[in-house]
C-alpha cells in the first residue's frame, strides 16, 4: 500500500475536482451517541436502516465499481491500529462474494467518504461494518438483478462468485460489465437478506492484516512518513501552561538562524518554520529558551482531587433510579474510589501536514473524525467548510482524543500563513505529554445492602467527574484556536445522560439489583485539560463497582464468581463469566503467600461486548511491587469478524489497563503539569508484562456486532484490585497502585 498516492493525486487534482468519483451523499447536520456535547454524526435520514446507512443511505456512498471490475469500499471510520482496514474488507468481501484482498478501501476523507463522525467508542464494526455489510448485500442483489435482465435468466438461477455473477448454464458476467453510471446511486432498502454464517468465506476467517507488511519493512505507513515535495518543517513553541500569555520573544534572533523560513506568531500561538527538520528543532529550542510567558497558578491540588471535584459540582444528574427509595437489609457496605488524570501517551507524538492552496485548505491528519475536525478547522480559519478537506492518514496508536486534532489545527494555522507550501507539524514528546487532553480524574462512592440470603437488595452509586469529551466540532476544542489572537473558547461543558454514557459510562451495574440510585455529580470546570480516553468513565466506574462486588461477595461469604452469577440472568454474560473462570482454572485452592486471584466482569456500555477476566497477581510487600503472572479472559462481541484482531485488541486493552492501574497518574503542581516525558510518566515496560494472557472469543455468528476494543479497560483494573485483595487481605481504593501506596496500605 502506498499512502503517498492520495497525497500526490490530491496535489494534482483534488481542488480542481477530478470528477473520477461521484459522491452523492448529502453532508447533513450532526449527533453522536454519548460522547460529545457538540454533535458529530449527521442526523439520520432513514433511522430504520442498519448501522451508518441510517445517516448515509445511498449505496454509492459506500461502494463503487469500476468498469474494469475493481471494487472500492468507502468508510467514514479510520484505522487506529485495531485492524479496521482488514475487517471492513472482510465484511464487504463476504457479501460481495470476493476475495478481501482484491477490494480497495478508502477510509475517512471529507472529500470522498461518508460522514461517520468519530472513530470512537468501539463502534467501527458496529456502525460502519453493519452499513458496509448491508450495502454490499444490496449491491450483490442489484448485480444479480441486472445480470438476470442481461442474460435473460431468472435471478434465482444466478449466483455471485469471485466478483462475478455466474449463471446455471455456465455463463458469467463480471461486476464491471454489469455496472452502469447511476446503477448504485440508489438508497439502501434494508430488505436484502444477509448471508447465513454457515456459508461464510471471509467473516470470522483468519486474514492477515493488510497494513502490517508495510509497517515492518519501512513503507510509508503513517502521517509522520509523508514528505510531499516542497514541504517545510514546523515546530511549535507552546506556553509553559494552558493559560500562559506570551510576553516577549526575540523574533529576529530566531528567524536569523540557519534554515529558518519564518516564525509564526498569532496571539500566544508560536511556531518556527524551517527548511530542514533539525533546523526547525534547533530554532524551536532557541525559542523555548528565550520566550517569556506570564503564568498563573490555577491547577487544583494533585493530592486532593476529590476535594476539587466535590467543590466544583454544578449539577447532579440521575443516571438510574430504580425501585424503592429506602430498603433495609442484613448488612450495608460502603466504599470510595478515586482515579487520577491519566494519559493516552501514544508512542509517536502527534503530527499533521497542511497545504493552503487556491483559497482551500487540505489537511492530512490522524484525527478520529475528519468531518467534525473539518468543521472546527473551518471555524478557526474563517473558511467555509467546503474549502477545508481533511484526509485521514494513520498516526501512532490512538486511544481516544489525543493531540491529533490539535496538530491538524497547528498545521492548518501555519499553512494559512504560507500558501502553496505543504507544512509538516511534528509535536515533540514533551508537547504530547503536556498538551494532550487527559482522561479525567474521578471520584466514586458506592454503598450496597445485602439481605440475609446474600443477595444485593439496594445499590447507591455516586460519581464526580468532568465530561469525558471535549472533541472538536467547534474551534474552541482546538488548542491552536484557543492560543491564537482570536482566543476561541471551549464550549461550556454540559451534563448529558445517554444510554452509552460518558463519565457515567457503565455506572449502572448490569447485575439484577431491584433498587438502584446512580448519580453523576457533574464538574464543568476543566483546569486540567481532559477528553475521551479509551472507555471514558467506564474504566473508573467498573473498577469501582467490580471491586465493590468482591467486597460484597466476601461479606456474603460467597466465591466472587458464584456471587456474580447469582446476580446475573443475561445468558451471554453468564457464558463469558463461566468461560473466563474455566479457562483460568478458577478455584479457592490456597495460593502461596503473597499471591492472589482476581475476577471481574462488565458488558461495555451495558450494550456492547461482554468481557470477563480472571488473573493472578503476586504482591511483594517489602518493595510494594505488584506483578500480574497470568490472565484468562473471555469476550463475546457478537459475530466475530476478525477473531485475531479481537484477541489482539483485548490483549492490548488488558496490558494498557494494567499499566494505568499499577503505575499511571499525571503529575502537576498548582501551576504546571509535571509529567513531560516517560521519565516522569512511566508506563509498563516488558519486565512488567504477564507470563501469559489467554483470550477466548465466544463467537455468536449471525448476531449483531458489539464494540469490543475498549471492553477490557474496566474489568482489568478491577480484577487487579481484587487479586491484590485476595493476596493481601487489603484493598486499594485509589488508583494507581504505586509501590508507595502498596507499602502504605500493607504496612510492615
Amino acid at each position: 500500500m502506498n499512502i503517498s498516492t492520495p497525497l500526490n493525486a490530491t496535489r494534482r487534482g483534488f481542488l480542481a475536482g477530478t470528477g473520477a468519483l461521484v459522491v452523492s451523499f448529502a453532508i447533513p447536520a450532526v449527533a453522536q451517541e454519548g460522547e460529545v456535547a457538540t454533535p458529530a454524526t449527521p442526523a439520520p435520514q432513514n433511522p430504520d436502516l442498519p448501522g451508518s446507512l441510517a445517516e448515509t443511505p445511498s449505496l454509492d456512498a459506500w461502494i463503487r465499481i469500476d468498469a474494469n471490475g475493481k471494487v472500492t469500499v468507502f468508510t467514514g471510520k479510520v484505522e487506529l491500529g485495531q485492524g479496521t482496514k482488514t475487517a471492513l474488507r472482510q465484511i464487504a468481501a463476504e457479501e460481495l462474494e470476493m476475495d478481501p484482498a482484491s477490494i480497495e478501501l478508502i477510509t475517512a476523507d471529507t472529500g470522498q467518504t461518508p460522514n461517520e463522525g468519530y472513530t470512537a467508542g468501539s463502534q467501527t464494526i458496529q456502525n460502519s461494518g453493519t452499513a458496509i455489510r448491508h450495502a454490499s448485500a444490496e449491491v450483490r442483489e442489484i448485480m444479480i438483478r441486472q445480470a438476470s435482465e442481461k442474460l435473460g435468466i431468472p435471478a434465482e438461477d444466478l449466483r455471485a462468485e469471485n466478483g462475478r455473477i455466474v449463471a446455471s448454464d455456465g455463463r458469467t458476467l463480471g461486476y464491471g460489465e454489469i455496472v452502469a453510471d447511476d446503477l448504485l446511486h440508489v438508497d439502501a432498502t434494508g430488505n436484502v437478506p444477509l448471508k447465513s454464517p454457515d456459508s461464510y468465506h471471509a467473516i470470522g476467517k483468519p486474514f492477515a492484516r493488510v497494513d502490517i507488511p508495510a509497517k515492518v519493512t519501512g513503507g510509508a505507513a503513517f502521517v509522520q512518513d509523508l514528505r510531499p515535495e516542497g514541504m517545510l518543517h514546523a515546530r511549535l513553541v507552546r506556553p509553559p501552561t494552558y493559560t500562559a500569555r506570551l510576553v516577549e520573544i526575540d523574533e529576529d534572533a530566531i528567524t536569523s538562524m540557519p534554515g529558518v523560513v519564518t516564525l509564526v506568531r498569532d496571539g500566544d500561538f508560536l511556531a518556527v518554520i524551517a527548511e530542514q527538520e533539525f533546523q526547525a528543532i534547533t530554532a524551536m529550542r532557541a525559542a523555548y529558551a528565550t520566550a517569556k510567558w506570564d503564568e498563573k497558578e490555577n491547577l487544583p491540588d494533585q493530592n486532593d482531587i476529590p476535594a476539587f471535584l466535590e467543590s466544583a459540582v454544578s449539577e447532579t444528574g440521575s443516571v438510574a433510579s430504580v425501585g424503592a427509595e429506602s430498603v433495609s437489609g442484613a448488612r450495608t457496605l460502603q466504599a470510595q474510589f478515586t482515579r487520577p488524570y491519566q494519559m493516552h501517551g501514544s508512542i509517536g507524538p502527534s503530527a499533521a501536514i497542511a497545504l493552503f492552496e487556491n483559497d482551500a485548505m487540505t489537511v492530512w491528519t490522524h484525527t478520529q473524525g475528519v468531518y467534525p475536525d473539518r468543521d472546527a478547522l473551518a471555524e478557526m480559519l474563517d473558511l467555509p467548510p467546503e474549502k477545508v478537506r481533511c484526509i485521514h492518514v494513520e498516526g501512532s496508536g490512538c486511544y481516544g482524543h489525543n493531540g491529533a486534532d490539535d496538530a491538524a489545527a497547528d498545521a492548518a494555522l501555519i499553512a494559512k500563513w504560507l500558501p502553496g507550501k505543504p507544512i509538516r507539524v511534528q509535536w515533540t514528546r514533551e508537547q504530547e505529554h503536556l498538551w494532550e487532553p487527559y482522561g479525567a480524574g474521578m471520584l466514586t462512592r458506592v454503598s450496597a445492602t445485602l439481605d440475609d440470603s446474600g443477595k444485593i437488595v439496594d445499590w447507591r452509586y455516586d460519581l464526580w467527574s468532568n465530561s469525558h469529551s471535549t472533541r472538536p466540532g467547534s474551534a474552541g476544542s482546538l488548542m491552536a484556536a484557543r492560543l491564537m489572537g482570536r482566543h476561541f473558547q471551549l464550549e461550556p461543558a454540559k451534563l448529558q445522560i445517554s444510554p452509552s454514557g460518558n463519565g457515567d459510562r457503565n455506572a449502572i451495574p448490569l447485575y439484577d439489583i431491584p433498587n438502584q440510585r446512580v448519580n453523576w455529580h457533574f464538574v464543568p470546570d476543566m483546569p486540567v485539560r481532559v477528553s475521551a480516553l479509551r472507555g471514558l468513565g467506564a474504566y473508573c466506574n467498573i473498577f469501582s463497582l467490580e471491586s465493590f462486588m468482591d467486597e460484597l461477595a466476601e461479606a456474603a461469604e460467597t466465591d466472587p464468581v458464584e456471587f456474580r452469577l447469582r446476580h446475573m440472568t443475561d445468558p451471554r454474560a453468564r457464558t463469558v463469566i463461566e468461560t473466563a473462570a474455566e479457562k483460568f482454572g478458577w478455584s479457592d485452592d490456597p495460593l502461596p503467600q503473597g499471591r492472589g486471584r482476581g475476577f471481574a466482569f462488565a458488558q461495555y456500555k451495558n450494550h456492547a461486548a461482554y468481557l470477563a477476566i480472571a488473573l493472578e497477581a503476586a504482591v511483594d510487600r517489602e518493595t510494594g511491587i505488584v506483578k500480574i503472572s497470568h490472565v484468562a479472559c473471555a469476550v463475546d462481541c457478537g459475530e466475530a469478524v476478525a477473531p485475531d484482531a479481537i484477541i489482539n485488541q483485548t490483549e492490548g486493552g488488558i496490558i494498557q489497563s494494567m499499566s494505568w492501574t499499577l503505575y499511571e497518574a499525571v503529575q502537576f503542581d498548582r501551576t504546571r503539569i509535571q509529567s513531560p516525558d516517560w521519565s516522569a510518566y512511566p508506563i509498563a515496560r516488558f519486565s512488567a508484562i504477564p507470563d501469559s494472557i489467554e483470550v477466548a472469543v465466544v463467537d455468536n455468528p449471525g448476531t449483531p456486532y458489539l464494540g469490543v476494543a475498549e471492553a477490557a479497560q474496566g474489568p482489568t483494573g478491577a480484577a487487579i484490585g481484587n487479586a491484590f485483595r485476595h493476596a493481601t487481605g487489603k484493598r486499594i481504593h485509589d488508583l494507581p497502585f504505586t509501590r508507595e501506596r502498596v507499602k502504605t496500605v500493607l504496612g510492615v
Binding site: 485495531q82 497494513d211 507488511p213 501512532s396 488488558i654 499499566s659 521519565s679 516488558f686
Partner: protein
C-alpha cells in the same frame, strides 16, 4: 559526509550534529526509524550501528563515519521479507505498528549477538522499548519465532537464501 546504511554508502549533506534519525528519514527517505521521544526513553527510533542497537534520535551523524548502520529496511523488503519481518507478519505482531520497527531492530541486535538468546533474555533485552498498544505478548512471540527463522536462514545454503 559519508554514511553507510544497509550496506550502501551515501554522501549526505547534513550538519554533522544532526541526529541520525532525521538524516535517515529526510535525506535518505527511510521510514523505518520513528521519532518517539528524542530522549532515549522509548526506543521507537532504534537502529543498529555495527550490530548494536542504538537510539538514532540521540546519535549525531558525526560519530558514525566508517560505521555500519542498519535499519528495518535492511532486514528485507515487502516482497522478500527477512526472518525478523516474516516472524512479525506471521504472528500479526502489531496494533498501530509505530513502535514495531524499533522493536525489530533491538531484537535483531540481541539475536545477532546471541542466536540462542532465551525468551527471558529477549524480554529483558527489549526493556528499553515502549509499546503503548499493549502488543507485548505478540512481539515476544514474534521475536521467539524470528530466533528460529534466523537460525534456519543462516543454516540454509546461500543459493536457497537468495
Amino acid at each position: 559526509m559519508k554514511l553507510t546504511v544497509n550496506g550502501t554508502a551515501h554522501e549526505v549533506d547534513a550538519d554533522p550534529s544532526t541526529p541520525l534519525l532525521y538524516v535517515l528519514r529526510n535525506d535518505l527517505g527511510l521510514n523505518g526509524a520513528k521519532f518517539g521521544c528524542g530522549l532515549g526513553q522509548c526506543g521507537a527510533c532504534t537502529v543498529m550501528v555495527d550490530g548494536k542497537a542504538v537510539f538514532s534520535c540521540l546519535t549525531p551523524v558525526m560519530l558514525l563515519e566508517d560505521r555500519e548502520i542498519k535499519t528495518v529496511e535492511g532486514l528485507g523488503t515487502i516482497d522478500n521479507p527477512g526472518p525478523m519481518q516474516t516472524a512479525f507478519i506471521e504472528e500479526q505482531a502489531a496494533q498501530c505498528g509505530y513502535c514495531i520497527p524499533g522493536m525489530m531492530m533491538r531484537a535483531q541486535s540481541i539475536l545477532e549477538a546471541n542466536p540462542d538468546a532465551t525468551d527471558d533474555e529477549l524480554r529483558h533485552g527489549l526493556e528499553p522499548n515502549l509499546c503503548r498498544c499493549g502488543t507485548h505478548m505478540r512481539i515476544l512471540r514474534a521475536v521467539s519465532k524470528a530466533r528460529t527463522l534466523m537460525k534456519s536462514a543462516s543454516a540454509a545454503p546461500a543459493v536457497e537464501r537468495a
